[in-house]
Amino acid sequence: MAYEILRLVGFAIAATTLLVLLRRERPEMALILSLAVGAFILLAILPAIGQVVTLLDTLTMKAHVRLIFFDTVLKILGIAYLAEFGAQVARDAGETAVASKIELAAKVLILVLALPIVNAILDLILRLLP
């Protein structure tokens, strides 16, 4: 893992140098290049995220938390990762409006996914109240 971060930082610095060279003359090629760099770095750290997710999964099994809640949280994490990626690419290209819309869409989708959890909390509160 420590070796991995050295590799990623070196990669990112090299890519940034190329991006600075390209951004002034050909902004659209710089956009594609930054897309590739972002996808590459995310792909490189996904196995580590997978380890954390596996750990959380075993913890959920041991604690006997209902699996649907954990599944929802995982889905929300995935939506957040993808939306952040897309929004950052859009913001990088100067399209802040598109970036804001992507974030809004992600928030709405996350809210929809979280509805069963909110329902469960409300049920619990109603049951606790006399």
């Binding site: 991995e4 590799r7 990669f11 090299a14 890519a15 190329l18 060279l21 390209l22 003359e25 050909r26 659209e28 090629m29 710089a30 594609i32 290049l33 897309l35 590739a36 760099v37 996808a39 590459f40 995310l42 792909l43 490189a44 996904l46 995220i49 997978g50 997710v53 599944d71 995982l74 889905k75 994490l77 995935g78 939506i79 990762y81 993808l82 990626f85």
Partner: protein, 66 residues
């Protein structure tokens, strides 16, 4: 781990398009060829980057059960 060569490829493509446009502009006013060249460069770049994006989205989908 994935390899660095996609990024090298894209940077080389960008620099190539940049140089070709500079040459075209220095030959004469061939603005329309420059535009075509830029579009071709963008299309080729997307052809390179789309497999990477598909890979990323598939990985996130399988990891987070989307």
């Amino acid at each position: 781990m994935l390899s660095f060569d996609v990024v090298i490829k894209l940077a080389a493509l960008g620099i190539l398009v940049m140089l070709a446009r500079l040459v075209l502009e220095s030959i004469g006013d061939r603005k329309e060829y420059g535009l075509l060249l830029t579009i071709a460069g963008v299309v080729v770049g997307f052809l390179v980057v789309i497999p990477l994006l598909t890979n990323l989205i598939q990985s996130v989908k399988t990891l987070f059960n989307l």
